[in-house]
């Protein structure tokens, strides 16, 4: 069944809200993502490097890098996106360094957070504020 925008708006408020949520995309919070990854363990401030631009020229393609010596996994979250998940890197035995670089989407100015599970099983956290600018001619 397809609704046009007008029809969707015509449906009562609460019902419309439910109808517009994408199926199965219940938006877990940043805290819930972190709790699931760490099991509630403490996170150190050292042991993980997160590189992201201070100002992103376009929020659609923002280069980031994560690096944590000996880590088995690194989780990256965008705390201001509609859903905070970005990526989880799991390093295998043939990873020469626990390092990865990628390009991500940021819906606006926000904190990007990375959490690493280190070799000894402890966790480290790093965070960077990225300002996303609004383009000149309509973005």
């Amino acid at each position: 069944m397809e609704f046009t925008r007008r029809e969707t708006l015509a449906v009562g408020g609460a019902a419309a809200l439910v109808a517009m949520l994408p199926k199965g995309a219940y938006a877990a919070t940043t805290e819930e993502w972190i709790a699931e990854f760490t099991g509630g363990a403490e996170m150190a401030d050292a042991g993980l490097d997160l590189t992201a631009p201070e100002i992103a020229e376009n929020g659609n393609t923002v280069p980031i890098e994560v690096s944590a010596d000996g880590a088995s996994e690194i989780l990256v979250l965008a705390t201001g996106n509609p859903t905070p998940g970005v990526a989880k890197f799991t390093f295998g035995p043939l990873a020469a360094a626990q390092y990865a670089s990628t390009r991500i989407r940021l819906a606006g100015t926000q904190d990007v957070v990375a959490i690493a599970k280190l070799a000894d099983g402890s966790f480290a956290r790093a965070s960077k504020t990225v300002k996303v600018t609004i383009g000149g001619c309509g973005g």
Binding site: E57, N58, T61, C137, G138
Partner: protein, 284 residues
């Protein structure tokens, strides 16, 4: 001129702190793959006397991260569409069972071609853009269907042809039989369009280097097209960019492939004579 004052102020600042004042053009050097040196600043062509002294690529107006994406063919997402076009180049299409490669061999044999288009075609009696010439090949020699202007296939092929001409200076002819079309393009460039009553020149000649909201205006050069925009994550054609600009003045626009945009492409290309072909480039 405001821009020059700003640049002077930036130069003063640079003496005391390594701060790049966003907005103006920087002085970085563009070398692709550590190998292809690109001329991104040049003395303006004689026809720009009284309008511009120096012409510069839009690359100088982008931040370091965006600039870096264009300096390596693997980091440049536009190059994946060059790969796609290389497959198309070698694929036979149409009633004649021919591919581009059957007549032109390797794409590298087209080196330098991008730099001289749009150009006058004597037989057809018209100025042709590179996409028009590609379509003439498709319909007349291959018996294949013409590509829609600025469609994915056409833009990918234009990117392939640009990529093999990188490092060749743009040199479009504006005299002789092309002069009439060039004059028409020049008239469009200086005409104010839309509810905002803006001409191309208002932004890209009189205000380049200044802010437009949080972004900064370039000279609107087209030597680096097609361009992969971070905004829409795909290759963009010149005519589509023209259309976007004119739409933003809140005007009824011309369409990609229209005689007006063909003329405008010739004129804007000629404003970049002396800058190297740089496509596919990366912009925001």
């Amino acid at each position: 001129m405001i821009f020059k004052t700003l640049t002077a102020a930036a130069a003063m600042l640079a003496l005391t702190a390594p701060v790049l004042v966003a907005g103006g053009a920087d002085d970085d050097t563009l070398v692709i793959n550590g190998d292809i040196e690109i001329t991104t600043k040049a003395a303006a062509a004689p026809h720009l006397d009284g309008h511009l002294d120096e012409v510069m690529s839009g690359w100088h107006f982008r931040d370091d991260d965006t600039q870096a994406m264009e300096m390596d063919d693997f980091d440049n997402p536009g190059m994946i569409f060059v790969d796609v076009a290389t497959d198309t180049w070698n694929t036979a299409e149409g009633s004649e069972g021919k591919s581009c490669a059957d007549c032109h061999n390797e794409p590298e044999s087209m080196a330098g071609v991008r730099a001289v288009y749009p150009r006058w075609n004597e037989e057809a009696g018209e100025v042709r853009t590179l996409q028009m010439q590609m379509n003439a090949c498709r319909t007349e020699r291959m018996g294949a269907e013409a590509w829609k202007y600025d469609s994915g296939d056409a833009i990918n092929m234009e990117a392939l042809l640009a990529s093999v001409s990188r490092g060749t200076p743009v040199n479009v002819a504006i005299d002789g039989p092309a002069a009439e079309t060039w004059e028409k393009g020049k008239e469009i460039y200086y005409t104010r369009y839309g509810l905002l009553e803006l001409s191309c020149a208002n932004c890209h000649e009189q205000n380049y280097g200044n802010y437009i909201r949080a972004d900064h205006l370039s000279q609107g050069q087209i030597n680096a097209f097609p361009t992969y925009r971070l905004k829409n994550a795909k290759l963009n054609g010149m005519h589509s960019r023209f259309k976007g600009c004119i739409r933003d003045t809140r005007a009824e626009t011309f369409n990609p492939g229209s005689p007006e945009f063909v003329a405008l492409e010739l004129y804007v290309a000629s404003r970049g004579n002396g800058l190297d072909v740089e496509g596919p480039s990366v912009r925001n």
